[in-house]
């Protein structure tokens, strides 16, 4: 590997000193991300060493060295903000993300608490990039080809799944504590924090994103993009490089084993109104110290009941439907708790235990989705605070759990599609923050 390679000429110069910690954590991470995106340069520029052509030509053996100014854990101590700062890299190339950030954070004497979450975060970012590209294509074709409109619901559903996974990953990252550069060393005080939620993320995100990538291949193919096109090659690269981000099935299976080992604890958890864990869902605020046990997936799942109760009495159709689906999921959670408690020690080799782990993970996903939606509504975020995307995501979770949707559930897909198409045409990321992109 050419470790001495110079910074790309195509990128923009640094605008913020790398050594001064940001006064405001959120703004600081956003600035770091903008700076990194500028450093990485235009992905379409054939002369850019971090551009698509150069990376594809370099292969995995000849990846370029990182530019000076790559955000690190010392500069951005909070795990969720570190992931946000690195997102331009995650979006650019999974193999590059692995080589530059994920592997170093995993390979320190004590792995960074967030390291296991960065792979799924990278997969989400890269899949979101492909989704935007496909949405732009379908949106363009839809203007004069009625048949292309059939793909809108599929892409809207994929977008809702992606946002649900982003919510889950954000909650898990925020449950990680990082002592910062002045502490004794990485992870010395809070080692292992977030590990349990990380198992849910590590299991579910590769599964759901894998389905999304399959759907994107279908849509591209049906829109006439054959395997040799840039769009299909970009998608194929994400599919192939999932293993580098530890976001393939073997990694997911290992994470599932950790969920199974904690299933007995799920049997003992009780519904929670979510107030203690509310900070985990407020993605626009800094993640302050979290309550003990906040990294426990069962604690997060238990917030489902409180979040559902707070939806009662809503007068708009989408929110009322969200409350009905929420109640159905709370019932499912009750049944699952009984099933988990029925066995003292769950065996990861038992398919029934693995099925329970799948159901438990889906309920944690639902709780994270509902929690992030509620917090975003409180912060008056225009799309994320609305009920539409959460209704679509929770409807699909309900379907995955084998439960029918309640009667009178409206179809939120058109509104979710509109948001996706707008982001695709305006150059806005598919993330929770609706980050405007440079390139």
């Amino acid at each position: 590997m050419a470790l001495t390679r110079p910074a790309p000429h195509a990128g923009r110069p640094l605008t913020t000193p790398t050594s001064s910690p940001p006064a405001d954590e959120q703004a600081g991470a956003a600035r770091c991300a903008a700076r990194l995106e500028a450093l990485l340069g235009d992905p379409r520029d054939p002369g850019n060493p971090y551009g698509r052509s150069a990376l594809w030509a370099a292969g995995h053996d000849g990846l370029p060295a990182p530019p000076a100014g790559l955000p690190g854990a010392g500069e951005v101590p909070a795990a969720d903000q570190l992931a946000r700062a690195l997102r331009p890299l995650f979006r650019r190339d999974l193999a590059l993300a692995h080589a530059w950030s994920i592997r170093p954070l995993l390979g320190t004497p004590v792995p960074h608490p967030a390291a296991a979450l960065l792979g799924p975060a990278a997969l989400l970012a890269s899949a979101g990039g492909v989704l935007r590209g496909v949405a732009r294509i379908v949106d363009g074709l839809s203007r004069y080809e009625a048949a292309a409109r059939q793909w809108r619901p599929i892409l809207a559903s994929g977008f809702a799944d992606l946002l649900a996974c982003e919510s889950l990953t954000a909650v898990a990252l925020r449950s990680c504590s990082w002592p910062g550069p002045d502490a004794d060393g990485p992870g010395t005080s809070e080692q292992g924090a977030g590990e349990s939620l990380a198992a849910v993320v590590g299991y579910l995100v590769p599964e759901l994103v894998g389905e999304l990538l399959g759907d994107l291949e279908l849509v591209l193919n049906e829109c006439g993009f054959d395997a040799g096109t840039v769009e299909r090659r970009t998608l194929a690269r994400v599919v192939r490089d999932r293993a580098f981000a530890r976001a393939d099935w073997p990694a997911a299976s290992a994470a599932q084993t950790r969920i199974v080992q904690g299933l007995s604890a799920a049997g003992g958890s009780r519904p929670d109104d979510g107030r203690q864990l509310a900070v985990l869902f407020r993605i626009t605020e800094a993640a302050s110290a979290v309550a003990p046990g906040a990294d426990c997936p069962w604690a997060v799942a238990a917030t489902l009941a409180g979040a559902t109760a707070r939806l009662a009495g809503a007068d708009d159709a989408d929110t009322a439907a969200l409350a009905r689906i929420g109640r159905r999921l709370v019932t499912e959670q009750r049944a699952l708790r009984v099933a988990c408690a029925a066995t003292t020690v769950h065996d990861p080799a038992d398919p029934a235990a693995r099925a329970l782990a799948n159901r438990q993970a889906l309920l944690v996903l639902a709780a994270a989705t509902l929690g992030v939606r509620e917090a975003a509504a409180g912060a008056r975020l225009p799309f994320l605070g609305g009920a539409g995307w959460a209704l679509l995501a929770l409807g699909r979770i309900t379907e995955r759990l084998g439960q029918p949707l309640p009667d009178r559930t409206p179809d939120p897909q058109p509104g979710v599609w509109d948001e996706l198409a707008r982001r695709a045409s305006d150059g806005v990321d598919c993330d929770l923050h609706a980050t405007r992109l440079l390139w």
């Binding site: 279908l218 398919p351 995955r400």
Partner: protein
Amino acid sequence: MVSGRSAAHGRTPVPPFPPPCHVPGPDGPWEEVQERIERTGRAVVHTTWGQWLTPALLDPGLRTLLGRDWPRYRQHPAPAGRLSLAVSRVVLKHTAAAALQVPAERLDLAYLPGGRPVLRGLGADLQVSLSHTDELIVVGVSRAGPVGVDAEPAGRRISFEALRDHVCTAEEAELLAALPEEERTEGFLRLWTLKEAYTKALGHGMRRRFSAFGFGRDAAGTVRLTGDTAGEWAFATHLVEERFLVSEAHRQDAAPAAPGGARAPSSADEPGRPPSAEPPHGARVIGFPGRQSPGQR
């Protein structure tokens, strides 16, 4: 038409698929299925719902076995459809259970939002596909990658003229149009089942346009997906019980290399094992299109 593709890929040529195993009831015999799973990572089972009906319905654990399908079974409007639904799910679960060597009631059959059946929580560790037509039930299970199966009565006549543009690529349509009518009808049905099996393995079903992908034969006469330059896919069509065409599609998953030349940080490093070289017995392996061997074409 594809030719010599396997050699060009540097992969071991894929031996013929064995015919589907006939399993007459929940008690098996399952040894052949288990041996195939151990040898190749996959197996296809066929039976008739009449053979399984009585033991399935008399099973006191039927409700547990059907799991989330129980309400669908109970509320299905047509008696034949209700029984077919129940028996096909029971066959699927028992086949998967035999492959994993676990009790069938430990498995939870679920469906992805697009309708694809999956074993909840098992992910890529065991993938399944189900097809039933008339009294035939066919189940494919695979521990080595996606699998799809499709079955049709061999005598079914699908109008080539009416459906050619929806089903065939231009090359396939040209080849079929040149055949005598009887062979064309058979070849068209065979092609249909192959395309069904392939799209089911992808999890896309009918959403994928059949005319947008095509099949041909390589130099060895093996059916190949056009454009599958990596040689990932393998296909076969069998005549089962002399009355049904059964096609299967299988993708052999492989792990990529990691950046820096090392293997990817993944446990998916088990090398691909070739499918069984066991010669077919009791069922014929059929190529596409036409009945000629590639040397005759």
